[in-house]
């Protein structure tokens, strides 16, 4: 396919995706506002927001690619307050799929949420698994995320991340409990390899437990654990299937500090897989820190270390170390520019360096 043909195919895909978005938006919006769309009466208020980004990454320097601009996810996010206690939250992403060569629609979150009290709520649907801090603080809208990409440890499943980022299930959550400002999440969901439907590959379930405390308005700490009994035949990130049942256990913790001047996140998770007499442990962590040097300017650094064990029954063994030096310009709360110099040291590859630029928007 020539460049022009590819370009026109891409244009058709973009037009198709934008048409879908327009239909979705027009279906839900009855009044266009500068920042939000509302529908219905006061008791059933639907608000639609969107996120998108454009990123430029340099190539060469052992990155295995050429310099290019890339469209990020086109993310439509909507909430609807159905009653005082019941609300709906949905997040649908349009993104280019390298394998199919087309834009695809991915339903990232669909949550029916019921507030039992001001401190307790129940969520049912597809949620971000409450592992650590980053996965729940930052979702698909990159304008709120401090860095250009998610750390590799909490990268989305289809982008090679080792953790179960999404889970379909039911979750009980508590916030601001007692003088210690404790919070918790208990999630019972489908197991690895299952579909977001009842037509599942296996009947196994996963359990996630998280306990955290908002110690001050700026400082939050927490621990989390995940356990999954994975059945034989479950597809692995390697592309094959498990030949024996596997138990996956994930334990981790985090510290997150966000004040007016300084911000930092330190987070780690160890993934333990047990299958057919083979036991592996994969310790992974990352640390992020930034300092606001002017009203809208935040230079930052990040270090990531992901080690997926040799002979693991589920993962492709890997060692991923990355250092990032970046700067963020927060033009407004809804528009952010980021620039990063990144150095990646990955097993079996020469050290790669790259420059990344990103504009991320919320609308």
């Amino acid at each position: 396919m020539s460049f022009i043909e590819r370009g026109s195919a891409l244009s058709r895909c973009v037009l198709r995706a934008l048409s879908c978005c327009a239909i979705l938006v027009s279906a839900f919006a009855t009044r266009a506002g500068a920042q939000e769309h509302e529908m219905g009466d006061a008791d059933a208020r639907t608000v639609i927001h969107g996120f998108t980004d454009v990123t430029y990454l340099t190539g060469g320097n052992n990155t295995g690619r050429t310099s290019a601009f890339g469209l990020g996810q086109f993310d439509l996010y909507m909430t609807s307050r159905i009653s005082d206690r019941l609300s709906f939250l949905g997040e649908t992403v349009f993104e280019f799929d390298d394998e199919s060569g087309e834009f695809v629609v991915d339903v990232e979150r669909v949550i029916a949420q019921y507030a039992l009290t001001d401190h307790l709520r129940i969520d049912a649907g597809k949620v971000h698994t409450p592992l650590g801090y980053w996965n729940n603080a930052y979702h698909h809208g990159l304008v709120m995320q401090p860095t250009i990409e998610r750390p590799q440890l909490v990268q989305f499943e289809d982008d090679g991340g080792p953790l179960p980022i999404h889970t379909v299930g039911v979750q009980l959550s508590g916030r601001d409990i007692s003088e210690a400002h404790l919070g918790f999440d208990v999630l019972l969901g489908n197991a690895l390899g299952n579909r977001p439907t009842t037509d599942n590959r296996n009947e196994a379930a996963s359990v996630t437990l998280a306990l955290h405390s908002q110690l001050t308005s700026a400082l939050r700490i927490g621990v989390s654990g995940y356990r999954d009994a994975v059945r034989t035949g479950t597809p692995t990130p390697r592309g094959d299937s498990l030949t024996a049942p596997m138990t996956q256990t994930i334990g981790g913790g985090f510290l997150a500090f966000f004040a007016n001047r300084a911000e930092a996140v330190v987070e780690g998770h160890e993934v333990s897989n047990r299958s057919a007499g083979v036991s592996t442990d994969s310790p992974n962590w990352f640390a992020y820190a930034g300092v606001r040097v002017a009203e809208r300017v935040v230079p930052y650094v990040m270090h990531e270390d992901v080690r997926l064990a040799d002979n693991d029954p589920y993962f492709t063994s890997d060692r991923f170390k990355r250092e990032i030096l970046g700067i963020r310009y927060e033009h407004t709360a809804r528009s952010v520019l980021k620039a990063e110099l990144r150095s990646l040291d990955r097993r079996s590859f020469d050290r790669a360096t790259e420059l990344g630029l990103q504009i991320a928007l919320a609308f």
Partner: protein
């Protein structure tokens, strides 16, 4: 000597009116609300969405006078207004909040908001206070008392 006296007067003035040009902001609730004061920490948690109830346990409904928001964000919450805004956006995006604090345009709107909602807590310039709302102490100090932090 005269120079020293002038310097001392200036210092006293600075202490009495620490940030000239910024009106003091009162935190107000419905007159029927039994609360008399809040710690600054609790106030921050409420207006950053990390807490949803008054210390006694009742639900807190937030209202902000737009023209006082910047002073309030900086002095009470210790954050830039854009950071406060992006934190609320993030909370809604995470599903941890369904609405941002009610944005009110005039002092009369704030008073109406508080009058109509017994669970309301809002901000109002001290000069606009009247009997329709109840101003509460922050960290034990009421508006116009020395050491009151929101100005």
């Amino acid at each position: 000597m005269r120079l020293m006296r002038a310097g001392a007067s200036l210092a006293l003035l600075t202490l009495a009116f620490p940030r000239a040009g910024h009106a003091q902001i009162a935190v107000v609730v419905h007159p029927s609300n039994t609360i008399e004061g809040l710690s600054l920490d609790k106030l921050r948690r409420l207006f950053l969405g990390q807490a949803r109830t008054f210390p006694a346990g009742g639900h807190a409904r937030l209202g902000v006078l737009s023209s006082s928001a910047e002073t309030f964000d900086r002095a009470a919450l210790g954050l830039q207004p854009d950071i406060v805004r992006s934190r609320w956006m993030a909370m809604i995006f995470r599903g941890e909040a369904t609405t941002i604090p009610a944005e009110l345009t005039t002092a009369d709107d704030v008073k109406r908001f508080v009058r109509d909602h017994p669970d309301a807590i809002a901000i109002l310039p001290v000069a606009q206070l009247d009997a329709s709302v109840k101003a509460i102490a922050i960290d034990g100090r009421r508006p116009s008392e020395a050491g009151y932090v929101i100005h």
